[in-house]
Subunit: 448 residues, 3 copies
């Protein structure tokens, strides 16, 4: 008997019963299917958003490369570009080899301090290795690649601070260890569910976990290397060494700004419309306020409106908002960015004064404003956040990273040295380390 015959027959109660049950089962099935379909399509959209964010974080590496190249001399351009190409490449590979499983170990040892889920990556079996819909949702591989793009960032920040005088091979060794081991362990304490996460420490997208960690590493490196030749005169006076291409700097900063939409927007870990749009607004406002804060501070302090300061102000605002982009209001984002923009101008002067030579201002931008942004969550984030816990987190990351960076740099220094010879530094690392020039059509050997 087919459905048509069945429906044409006279109905008794039992038949009605059957129909009801049929309706219940079939329609319930349909409904459940449709409901699961809707969850699936949100999952698809989330995953698209997370990959878009991944691409944006990736392009930050071009941003860093352009910025660092622009702010240094043309005789070291090849060297900087080589280092940046190396870091993103080695970063992705080591993160696949071990970083991802160090940072998200699942199980911790020693009160949430250390854990490791094994070498390599492979999507978990079952349901295609998808993360459960309920969690907002994206795939295991999306999770890995988004986090991998983040990972290399911290080491890249170091490269700016130690530019123009570090030995290439020494830097490559340092950067590989830093990105493969130090950053993931540090990250696990909060994002991997470790002890600082359990304490209630908050760092939405990495003011501390990424930027301060990179900044501390840069501080140790710049301290151990000492200043570049020519930065301080015999008299002790500081002499600015201008970067060779401000268009490259501007390209770098605008790309970083765009990349930050992925850095912060992706850190929502879903495409939740309310949250991602709020985060993009707070991120944009803080960057804008940082630019104006630094521009006018430099205009007032020195007598000229300084382009590098305005652009570093953009980054200062971005680093500042990163810890709390999802928990502050637009107005608070403006304040956080503005303060970061003002801070960064004085921080640059401060490090110049204490003879920490940071060619691109990485320590001022990433370390100082990273600390500010993390503490700002304790100030503006509302009752869920504790200033003291934020401070503990800042200090814990500081101590851990400084100790690790010091040990690694010091070991390399003992083994093969970390600074190029005076002659190499004067001639430039492009010729001496790489045997090539960055602009052979235009280049006259510039020696300072």
């Amino acid at each position: 008997m087919n459905i048509a015959d069945f429906l044409r027959k006279p109905f008794g109660c039992s038949r009605v019963l059957f129909l009801s049950v049929f309706a219940f089962v079939v329609l319930g099935g349909y409904s459940a299917f449709a409901s699961e379909g809707a969850a699936h399509s949100v999952f698809v959209a989330n995953n698209v958003w997370m990959l878009l964010a991944t691409f944006l974080v990736f392009i930050m590496h071009l941003g860093f490369a352009s910025l660092e190249t622009g702010l240094t001399r043309s005789k070291n351009t090849v060297n900087i570009l080589f280092k940046n190409t190396f870091i993103i490449s080695a970063g992705i590979l080591t993160y696949a080899l071990m970083g991802f499983n160090l940072m998200y170990p699942g199980d911790f040892i020693g009160g949430g301090i250390f854990g490791f889920a094994g070498f390599g990556i492979s999507a978990p079996a079952g349901a295609g290795g998808l993360i459960e819909y309920a969690d907002g949702g994206y795939t295991y591989y999306t999770d890995f690649i988004f986090q991998a793009m983040f990972a290399a960032t911290a080491a890249t920040i170091v490269s700016g601070a130690v530019a123009e005088r570090i030995k290439l091979s020494s830097f490559l060794i340092f950067a590989t260890i830093f990105v493969a081991i130090v950053y993931p362990i540090a990250g696990s304490w909060k994002w991997g569910g470790g002890w600082l996460d359990q304490m209630g420490f908050y760092d939405f997208a990495g003011s501390t976990l990424v930027h301060s960690v990179g900044g501390w590493g840069g501080l140790v490196g710049a301290y151990l290397l000492g200043p570049r030749i020519g930065k301080y005169l015999a008299s002790g006076a500081m002499r600015p060494i201008p970067g060779h291409s401000l268009p490259l700097l501007a390209i770098g900063v605008f790309l970083l700004w765009m990349g930050w939409f992925g850095f912060n927007g992706g850190s929502v870990l879903s495409a939740d419309p309310e949250l991602i749009s709020l985060v993009i607004v707070t991120t944009s406002l803080a960057a804008a306020a940082g630019a104006l804060g630094a521009a006018f501070t430099s205009w007032g302090t020195f007598k000229y409106p300084d382009l590098s300061m305005a652009l570093n102000g953009v980054l200062a605002g971005l680093v500042g908002i990163t810890a709390g982009a999802d928990v502050v209001s637009p107005g608070e984002a403006v304040i956080i960015g503005l303060v970061a923009g003002i801070i960064v101008v004085f921080a640059v002067s401060f490090f110049d004064k204490i003879r920490i030579d940071d060619p691109v201002g990485a320590i001022s931008v990433h370390l100082v404003c990273g600390i500010w942004g993390t503490l700002a969550v304790g100030i503006f984030g509302g009752p869920d956040f504790s200033f003291m816990v934020q401070l503990i987190g800042v200090l814990a990351y500081g101590v851990f990273t400084v100790v690790c960076a010091f040990i690694i740099f010091y070991a390399i220094k003992m083994a093969i040295g970390i600074r190029v010879s005076e002659e190499e530094e004067r001639r430039g690392l492009d010729i001496t380390e790489h045997g090539m020039e960055s602009y052979p059509d235009f280049q006259a050997a510039s020696e300072i």
Copy 2:
């Protein structure tokens, strides 16, 4: 009695009744939930699309900065980059402070001419401040930030036309007022639902509202400033002043082309697949046709295929298609772009002839092709659009913007002057306004 027991019991009609009602209510609820779930997931996808468009419009600001820098001399590079960094920053902040609420006032006064919804932004209460699903959907914050990225564009267009001779502080004041007040009020007449919208004027993504408005501002500025020193010889003959870096120009134009996918694609205000894909096709075809139109026109008219013309042709095609990208066919898009590419070559010559010195061709690209694109909607758009109403719109925006720009520039001129001294112009604004050089490793003072 639990469900299992209930289902095992013998059924009477009342029980069947109960089951039926139960099925009705429960499954209806499931279905409604699933249906709402589907609407929600479209909402999520729409919001992702609108934010992607936002990021693309943002990167247009790097496009403009690169283009303007490339087409001007290296002695004014820092100055241009500073202005562009300032405009996007001040633009976002003033748009949050008042521009958004001037442009989308809700209520108008005086026949749809002026309205203001108050200072600041904050998501409306209820349902998370989301715009209703029925409207295609994205959040309040997404709406704000997408529009904010647009807002600064108009002022950036002005900066190209007045480059290499305007006083920095005068420009900053002009740009701030232009982006905070003039652009939003002009925009409200159409996009905010004002009098031109009520008349049936159509401007899909801003051939007039953004590009012509910027172009008119640039025309007034270039007229009041007069030409750069060296542009016209004592004999009256025009002398081209070549830009210092054509790679920067190319980077700028390609980034603008990509950014335009967000500018036009996002103006659909949803991720409606049919409409956004049509818009991306018409946008691409017009840009391509504009490039070839300008390349071959310049090749025929002068004796060489001119790279700057080909690249300005891309922009001409893009500006031309912007008013009607969603209502013309691919074939019509090619015609609109081709004509724009041809027009722009003659427009550049025309402004050179009447001694309006526009270093980057901004007036030819944005004003002239913006008018062409707006009128083209009346020609190609079909019976829903009136050529006369399009013309009225063009003229209304022209009168309003010229009057406003004139008043602002003139007031600044009276107060603090708008042009740098002859010596400053000869030495370049980088040294005199900012105390720094853009390419210190290569730069020999170039004076024209």
Copy 3:
């Protein structure tokens, strides 16, 4: 009788029956609607993903332009930028005119060798011209524009290999024919469902269909043109001619890397979360492994770590993974990329040795690694893929493209010549072909 009255009345079985049927019909309708709604929202998300991929592939054209400019001399910069602007523009237009319908003809003639669906594009009638939901889904226009962005790539690859000595008009004619006819016919054999597709040949995103095809074209061009003046000394020794801007090279390669996320990610032809995230992971790992492979191979082989080799290694890895990005594991992707990075270093030396002068290494990157990647599918892809069939595909494309490219180049050579005069080459194509300089502020005539 309204619903409320109906529900309040005493129930008989017939009434229960009615309610049941009502529930069945109404809820079924709801459910179907909700289910269709879920399918629709996946469709929306897919379409967003495909357009995002389109934008990323578009920006590869800026990547190619930057890379080629950076690796050549500043006296030929305008020429290269003009060619790249022309190719993307002519590519999109000819693809709309005929390429799309040659590549996806629907019906084939001659055993799947040739077919043509007519001139022009227009969305098919019915259901808004949408591709069926069941197919993963995106619109006709999205399909066109994504494929159009691909199309110009093959011709762009040629432009790198023939740079610095080909006559502009000759190249424009070649490129137009290549992109309008040769590439689409070649593409139809696999992606259009032609004879190689029927044989089981696999090329996921175009290691062969795009990169080798472009590489073969470049090989023929470079062979027919002969080496640049100064590349080989009278003694026969090879003399490297360094590119004029390594920052431009780095910008180009990083943009290409990002663009490849769309090139490979979009080739999934839907936003299927598992597949796109796997593809982005394999693509990233291969690029990273390619960079390290080439960097260390050059470091070991020559005595310096070569930046151009590291960056070409990125591209080598990307070209290598492109054929099988969706069918290999992350570990296999690392091997494929690493081997590609090693191969590319030796390939560059090989072509230098046999006096094929390829200024940017396009043949080594796109042809050699394209072949490697296609064969790697036969090695690593599992039992569904045959090494022999892959080899047949590689050879078929080689023969077809070489014959076509040879005929076109040879006909142009006979008609108007393909190489500029010696004087033009020495002075540079910017001045002689375009009458303008790329960096007028800095440029001293560089002659080699």
